[in-house]
Amino acid sequence: MNISCLFAKRRIVRLLDGELNPSARDALEIHLERCGRCSWARDEVKSVREIMRAIPRVHSSARDRAAILDAVSRDETDREERHFRTPGTGVFTRIDFVTAGALAVGAVLFVLVLTERGKARLPEGWVPSVTAYRTAEWHARQQGAGTEIKQGESQSVESPF
């Protein structure tokens, strides 16, 4: 296969890098043997490559590598903290449970206190119907009437609201 000089020059780098298929490589090598200009171009490319290999290098140190592992470790810690602060995960879940528990206990205590207040102090009509029913029942028991108070009676208690 005959190839042009332009075609050959553009493939010199590929040839030197071993990136040409065998047939293209053979054709190019034949051309380079015959063409002085193209073989000179190949030598120029080789020369530039060789010179550029003398470019300075920086050396990795144990301190650099340790700094990376420290950064990784810090990131891991931060991530864990963020994870726990995110709703629905980690510590936040635990905090949620504690908060929910405290709220539940608070609610029970509130109801109990309200009931006690209802029993002891609140005047009739100022308490919710269930409490009013229980209050009335309590009063009845205190008075020793022994009569059963029906649900309907408590419902008749009017609320000032």
Partner: protein
């Protein structure tokens, strides 16, 4: 003397080490860092032209890899993946630096000393003027490389200085293999022009 765990880690390939890291084995990641830090640092340095910046870039790159370790799927060599991350980080850092109008990266072909401790190999028993000449040469080469555009420089460094195949470079730079070849050819032509005074003196 290495302990047994280190010996085992040394025998594992990069994909295994990444799997172990994903499973929570931090030592496996340490082995990966030890194994590839040097190459990543050189790549970052050659792409950015700044030693301190290169160290930051490499640290950031390894951190990114660690953060994304769960999503890592081995496709080709680990170095291809690492170099992709390093290259992207280099582009980002360089742009950020330019935006902040910090000290500009050296892009001209001036002969000024390169700051920082750059090792130019073991000097050996050469005369001081030879050492100075070598230093001057390597400085000129570094600056010649920096005078290439970002895309040409990346292809040249990955191919010529890191020895990657065109297929790997194509994957890293997200370009077709034919473009890798043409960019490398363009890079060498530019370097030939830039280095002609240097070559004339050699």
């Amino acid at each position: 003397m290495k302990n047994r765990l280190e010996t085992i880690s040394d025998q594992l390939d990069d994909a295994d080490l990444m799997r172990r890291t994903a499973a929570g084995d931090r030592k496996a990641f340490g082995v990966l860092v030890d194994r590839h830090h040097q190459r990543a640092l050189n790549l970052a340095y050659r792409l950015s032209g700044d030693e301190d910046l290169a160290r930051d870039i490499v640290q950031e790159s390894f951190l990114r890899i660690f953060k994304a370790v769960d999503r890592y799927t081995p496709q080709g060599r680990f170095t291809t993946y690492l170099f992709t991350v390093v290259r992207n980080a280099t582009i980002e850092f360089s742009r950020r630096r330019r935006r902040r109008r910090e000290e500009p990266l050296r892009t001209s072909f001036d002969l000024d000393p390169i700051p920082g401790e750059i090792h130019h190999g073991v000097p050996g028993p050469e005369a001081p003027d030879v050492i100075t000449a070598n230093r001057e040469l390597s400085d000129r080469l570094a600056l010649a490389l920096l005078s290439l555009g970002e895309n040409l420089r990346a292809v040249f460094v990955l191919s010529e200085l890191e020895g990657l195949s065109y297929a790997e470079i194509a994957r890293i730079c997200r370009i077709p293999e034919g473009t890798v070849a043409s960019r490398k050819y363009a890079a060498i032509r530019q370097l030939r022009t830039i280095l002609s005074p240097v070559r004339a003196r050699l």
